[in-house]
């Protein structure tokens, strides 16, 4: 009870405040963009349509009306919260009047499944390899591993993805060139569908993992080497504690910052992986967010951001609540 009041409650309040601030800022930001969603629609119309100028101007007005952009920004802001609390994110402006929720709903499962797996795998691999590389730092495989991983780290996503594609989808056509699942396959629990999803997601996941492993590896190696000379590790080694246990100690004792990262990145997967999605033509949220930014589609930007904001804030909340578990020395207060 006391714990609830002194530890959990303030953090919940913080969580709410963070979401509030985050959402408000994200609400404001796109409005600074010089790109006006109506103008974007009009620009594309102007280049396609044989409509005359007079008519264009009228159309523009009625569009602005319908999208509610003529209103005062405060009115818009309060309306936005009113809608949001009802779970309604409003219509997409660039795809008017399709509801934002539907746009997101289409892409969300893909993004989540790809990024959840890639993030967790990348994290785990980085952690494990980093710990091993530090523990066995005198071994030559560890040195080679370090250089290889560090060489992969700065390779731009785009280049990495394209190289993977060229090799494994074009020269050796093992994996498909595009998409999240084979053409014509309908979502179902059939083996066929699942295999196809895995096959399509494989290269994107690998490309994300290969690049993201770098930082995890590097930081974990740094944390582990500091730990290695600490007394309790030395003592455990004198006592003949098994190597895997010691590796586990190292892993466990560096968990604090690493788990923080993991929680935040997991919270952040809702904003998608833009470049991977572009190169692999993967049906995720990243591309949608990017084009929404470009098109000044405020509603969509906020819509996606809200998920990401709540996700990251929750990640931060959870990790904050977990800190005392991760490092028992941290006090609740």
């Amino acid at each position: 009870m006391n714990l609830l009041k002194s530890y959990i409650f303030p953090r919940l309040v913080q969580w709410v405040i963070v979401i509030l601030i985050g959402t408000t800022v994200t609400f404001i930001i796109p409005r600074f963009s010089p790109v006006n969603p109506v103008d974007v629609v009009m620009a594309s119309l102007a280049s396609y349509q044989t409509t005359d100028p007079q008519a264009m101007l009228k159309l523009k007005e009625s569009l602005e009306d319908m999208m509610g952009l003529n209103e005062n920004i405060f009115v818009q802001y309060f309306k936005f919260w009113g809608r949001l609390l009802k779970g309604d994110l409003g219509p997409s402006l660039a795809r008017f009047p399709i509801p934002v929720i539907r746009v997101i709903g289409n892409a969300m499962p893909w993004t989540i499944s790809l990024l959840l797996i890639a993030t967790i795998l990348g994290w785990l691999l980085g952690m494990v390899l980093g710990t091993f590389a530090a523990y066995y730092s005198h071994k030559s495989w560890s040195k080679i591993l370090q250089v290889v991983i560090m060489a992969l780290y700065p390779v731009p996503y785009y280049v990495m993805a394209l190289i993977l594609l060229m090799i494994f989808a074009y020269i050796f056509p093992i994996f498909p060139l595009f998409g999240g699942v084979g053409i014509g396959l309908k979502p179902s629990l059939s083996l066929n569908f699942i295999l196809s999803v895995i096959k399509h997601g494989f290269l994107p996941a690998v490309s994300i993992i290969l690049v993201s492993i770098g930082w995890r590896f590097m930081s974990q190696r740094a944390l582990t080497s500091t730990l290695l000379s600490s007394d309790f590790i030395v003592y455990a080694r004198i006592a003949g504690v098994r190597n895997r246990k010691i590796l586990f100690y190292l892993f466990r004792n560096s968990l604090l910052p690493q788990a923080t990262d993991l929680a935040l990145s997991l919270g952040g997967i809702f904003s998608g992986a833009l470049i991977t999605e572009v190169v692999f033509s993967y049906p995720g949220l990243g591309q949608i967010l990017y084009s929404a930014i470009l098109q000044g589609d405020y509603n969509l930007v906020i819509g996606i951001s809200v998920f990401s904001i709540i996700g990251v804030a929750t990640g931060a909340l959870i990790i904050d609540l977990l800190y005392p578990f991760l490092d028992p020395r941290i006090r609740y207060s």
Binding site: L3, D231, P324, F325, Y332
Partner: protein
């Protein structure tokens, strides 16, 4: 400092409850329970805290130093609540009240050279302008503990032996010429001969410069040798408090147990195996009985199980034991000695 007048350190009804157990299944540990003390800084006292391992000595000392905040109660240093001090007051407090912590291996940053603490202390508290100017201060402090700058110069904590580290820690606390030093087992890792020279140093500092000490130790012989007062702690409580001479004729059964357990440096007088009952029978974190010592007390009465003993004043000391309910004067509020 004008803001810090008064000459007393007052510990007023301090209680510290730790929450233990990870996450949400937890027990509370009362490491320090309703302790009140008073030290007259002007007089220059050596005050010993002794008692069972885990009885809250370190915790109490850390509360006095302002490192941990008590759950209840407060600590006043020259009339100032140390947990509500302003920045400059706090700084002055730190200058006047110094610490020697229990484990010398943890007291120094393993990534830093130990001498840096000495120099920094000298420089930061305005004893010297720069490192060069600080050398005499540092040398002097080191010499007092049987070390020299040449010996520890350029060394990291792991390059020094336990006793050496402990001595460096003592030396560091001496540099600011504080008015009080809280020393948590400062000589536990030092050999008998050196130990005596350090104890002698403490005595000398106390007598000549009126430096107060809170001396936490298990070595009752040295405690007896230097201290003026002693508090015997048991499971967070002070069970007996008074002049150091109480060690020669303890009142509380626990003090008695302590005294008889002191081994003697004589192979012929080998200690007999202690009666197991006296030591562990029920060493739970929280005793089932109202009196914390009841479960191993040879003179346990019925009342000890039910009722927490009050503090009684007997022969000028305070004893927390039912045995003295008739002989002593019952104290109503905090201990005042």
């Amino acid at each position: 400092m004008s803001s810090m007048n008064g000459s007393k350190l007052v510990v007023n009804g301090v209680t510290k409850i730790f929450k233990m157990g990870s996450g949400f299944s937890r027990i509370n540990i009362t490491a320090v329970k309703d302790i009140s003390l008073e030290i007259d800084l002007a007089k220059g006292e050596i005050f010993t805290l002794a008692g069972e391992s885990g009885s809250g000595k370190t915790t109490l000392s850390r509360i006095i130093l302002g490192i941990i905040e008590p759950t209840y109660g407060k600590v006043l240093y020259r009339n100032k609540n140390i947990f509500a001090m302003k920045r400059n007051e706090r700084r002055q407090f730190i200058k006047e009240v110094q610490v020697v912590s229990q484990n010398p291996f943890e007291a120094f940053n393993p990534l830093k050279k130990v001498e840096s603490y000495l120099f920094k202390t000298a420089i930061r508290f305005g004893l010297a302008r720069d490192k060069k100017g600080a050398i005499p201060h540092v040398e002097k402090a080191l010499k007092a503990v049987g070390l020299s700058l040449a010996e520890i110069n350029d060394r990291y904590p792991n390059e020094l032996s336990g006793g050496q580290l402990q001595r460096v820690a003592i030396a560091r606390s001496l540099i600011t010429q504080p008015s009080m030093i809280v020393a948590d087992e400062p000589v536990s890792m030092i050999d008998a001969s050196l130990r005596m020279s350090i104890i002698n140093l403490i005595k000398q500092l106390n007598e000549e410069s009126k430096i107060n000490f809170i001396y936490i130790t298990h070595d009752l012989a040295t405690a007896y040798y230097v201290s003026h007062k002693i508090a015997i702690m048991l499971k967070g409580e002070v069970v007996e408090l008074g002049s150091i001479d109480l060690l020669t004729e303890p009142l509380h059964p626990y003090t008695e147990l302590l005294r008889t357990s002191i081994p003697e440096p004589d192979p012929d007088k080998a200690l007999e195996a202690i009666d197991k009952e006296l030591v562990i029978s029920k060493r739970n974190f929280d005793s089932d009985f109202a009196c914390k010592f009841a479960d191993r007390c040879p003179s346990k009465m019925k009342i000890c199980e039910r009722e927490e003993p009050k503090n009684y004043i007997v022969n000028g000391r305070i004893v927390k034991c039912h045995m003295y309910s008739n002989k002593g004067i019952k104290m109503t509020n905090s201990i005042q000695i």
